[in-house]
Symmetry: C2
Subunit: 135 residues, 2 copies
């Protein structure tokens, strides 16, 4: 997608972000959304994450339905930030394959209570981002 | 999922939200993420929305690839809000079917520049939400 400049009063321009900027923005926020596909359509779950060696790592309970469903499957991880007043913002989307592990190391400290003995590591295939520039 | 109470120091409780609360929270925020499934896995796009008669409505360009891909297909729409400091927050997920229209009425005023002559209306099949309560 090429950047398109807008005229006055018709909203901001959408500008593509380079991959280095995407990784920097991903690491700048603690929370994103992990998405995967079921027969009935997509599911999105908000989780907190860390960025480790150009992978996104989240932790969850080993018995979470997510774990069984995402392992070795295509997933997406999305982070964004928007300002309601200025209508500026950005979003980053990591598309790749999830790899479930049960090592105690790696990943973020989970926010909700309960076991988080499983790690879901997202190995990226494509990393893209966009920014809505001010009018 | 039933609500689980946590002990001290191990994170907050995850509490399920009723559907009325989910709709109120959906209407309280201007921006969410529309997700759909491609052969290569899920895609998430942040968009702004309105809630109209228990449907979620977004606007986009009629030539956007999203329009061709989501019409009459299973999609999900997700809205959340988290506080990095207190680690409290909530999320709402609408799963349903997208219906594309080309009427000028309905939906939000789009943030980015360009044509937004298409509406994507999400007819819900399932509306769920969760809250992470303070520790």
């Amino acid at each position: 997608m090429s950047a398109t400049r807008s005229g006055p009063g018709d909203g901001g321009a959408l500008i593509e972000l380079d991959e280095a900027t995407c990784w920097r923005l991903l690491a700048s926020r603690p929370v994103g959304r992990l998405a995967w596909c079921q027969a009935a359509g997509p599911v999105l779950v908000p989780v907190n994450h860390t960025v480790e060696d150009r992978t996104v790592v989240v932790r969850t309970a080993p018995w979470a339905s997510m774990v069984a469903q995402v392992d070795d499957s295509p997933v997406a991880y999305q982070v964004d930030d928007f300002d309601q007043v200025t209508r500026e913002g950005w979003s980053v989307l990591v598309r790749g394959t999830a790899e479930v592990g049960y090592d105690a190391s790696g990943g973020p400290e989970p926010w909700p209570a309960g076991s988080h003995a499983a790690t879901v590591r997202i190995r990226p295939v494509e990393v893209t981002g966009r920014r809505v520039a001010p009018r």
